[in-house]
Symmetry: C2
Subunit: 327 residues, 2 copies
């Protein structure tokens, strides 16, 4: 259909103009008569001409790519989060005429990240998960590569965009408290992840001095089962789950123990997702918008790349979904 390889030169010649005039018309930079500009714009629109980003990038020392770096290991739950996030990232990137280069890293293996940066394939990087003592962060800092973190990190001086987990968890917790729960159990996951700490903090702030029982590092069904048993032995009237996956396992366990929600005890999750969609009663949970998170993060990275000042820490909102499980 349309010419495989039209160049800016072709356009210029066809219009009897010079390359630079065409270039200026497209970019909008520099002085240009509105008339000429429109003529060019119309022409390229009609012919579906697109400047070659490689050439553009070469001359501007830009790649027009951002790196999207996520863990390569298998966490079913977070995959869904990343996918939603990615939608936001791709959208925001496209708006700035950027594309998204994806790579995965492991806890100790950041070779994928090194590849795309050392090979000059990206202008900046978005880190999808961070750990305490994160190798990737160290590396990016040292190299002075622009990057933004989705989620939180304890590392100083890192630009991050996150949901306000502490505030959200605090709010849900204090609502539960107002509803009259007396002995509350918190079941949390991997303490190696920063978010676990934030959620616990919010929980504790919300509970103030009420009686609680806390069980962490419940990273598989067995651990969760044991935590639930302990909570029941403790005489809990409400189990607060750190995330959707844990909540799913908790619900399963309660069913096995033939305990009714919310009659025998209440259940709430600090993270809502599709995983929680099918329960009856529905689960009280905190709802975030991962796509929005991805979008904001990418916009922030774009700002950094374009040399703008950005805030060190941006917090996004949340919703508290009060459902039957805490009635």
């Amino acid at each position: 259909m349309d010419n495989e390889k039209t160049t800016i030169d072709d356009v210029a010649k066809a219009l009897g103009l010079s390359k630079s005039t065409v270039s200026r018309s497209i970019s909008g930079k520099g002085r240009i008569s509105a008339e000429t500009r429109q003529k060019v714009l119309d022409y390229i629109e009609e012919r579906n001409y697109r400047p070659n980003p490689l050439a553009k990038g070469l001359s501007e020392s830009k790649t027009y790519n951002v790196g999207w770096v996520i863990p390569g290991d298998d966490h079913l739950t977070s995959l869904y989060f990343y996918q939603r996030c990615l939608q936001g990232v791709i959208g925001a990137a496209a708006k700035a005429d950027y594309d998204v280069l994806i790579t995965t890293i492991g806890k100790d293996d950041i070779s994928g990240l090194k590849r795309i940066t050392e090979n000059h394939k990206v202008d900046g990087v978005i880190l999808g998960r961070t750990l305490r003592k994160d190798k990737a962060i160290r590396y990016l800092k040292e190299k002075g590569i622009p990057f933004v973190v989705v989620g939180s990190t304890e590392e100083k001086g890192v630009i991050q965009v996150d949901n306000d987990h502490v505030a959200a968890c605090r709010e849900l917790t204090s609502i539960l408290k107002m509803k009259g729960v007396k002995r509350v159990a918190f079941i949390g996951g991997d303490t190696g992840q920063v978010v676990t700490g934030s959620r616990l903090q919010g929980f504790q702030e919300g509970m103030e001095d009420a009686r609680t029982q806390i069980c962490l590092d419940c990273v598989n069904k067995d651990r969760v089962d044991r935590a639930v048993e302990e909570a029941v032995a403790f005489g809990t009237d409400c189990i607060v789950c750190e995330d959707d996956r844990i909540c799913q396992m908790v619900m399963e366990k309660l069913k096995e123990m033939e305990l009714e929600v919310p009659t025998d005890l209440k259940v709430a999750s600090f993270y809502d997702s599709k995983l929680l969609g099918n329960y009856k009663p529905q689960i009280t949970a905190l709802k975030y918008d991962p796509t929005e998170l991805g979008k904001k993060t990418c916009e922030t990275l774009m700002a950094i790349i374009n040399g703008k000042k950005v805030e060190n820490r941006q917090m996004l909102g949340y919703e508290v979904l009060l459902k039957g499980s805490t009635q």
Copy 2:
């Protein structure tokens, strides 16, 4: 640490050579004395010099990127598959000095795909999911863009790499038959996806003329529940599930109906995954290697890009995991 921007010119000057000599040393193309070549190689190794792929690409009309195109909608299960696949793709791409540009498409919205191709950001594309009457395939064919499909498509003349679903399902089915099942129910998912048809075909070939009941398009819990009820009413002694997600829902339903596996009836899944990891007894299932699939697919794409002839259809192997659920 290392120089932010060493160019081939810097290397040439430092070594008292010309750009072209350095270029040849690195690429290995053209005549070069082994001695000079080694000198160059040593130097760039030591200084960690990497040729700028944008410049390289510009002069060779290549981007050194492949596009990884997956659905943007929310299929929890397939996400895991894609992630594993992606690992293989990234690995194979890196070996050829390529990186992976990711984008998502919807059933009717292939704008993301158009973006990366029209903008000349990729040399070829890998399609992660295909539908019948796939818009993306149409588009890529029409534009003559090199692409490979992971999985199968009915479209003619499309290069595809897939697990041999038909053979695998046929084999598992006939093993079940040999084990003496008499009335078998097949519960399948979205008939809009090609793989559903392949699995059904394998099932039917394996069953030959035995009595079966087939229920398709079970895309949510309600549908699956009804299918299970019908199967039980039919007097089934074995339920065959098209994939892990359906199997999960089937197991849940059976629990609700207080039917024991394998005592009351047997259960098998045509797709194994982590989702099936926690059942007791364990589930008989077909196991594939998504990472290997991704790798092969990307290698095939690289071959096409480099102008090599490739087979139209490549089939990967499978494993039959016989577990307690069909004992």
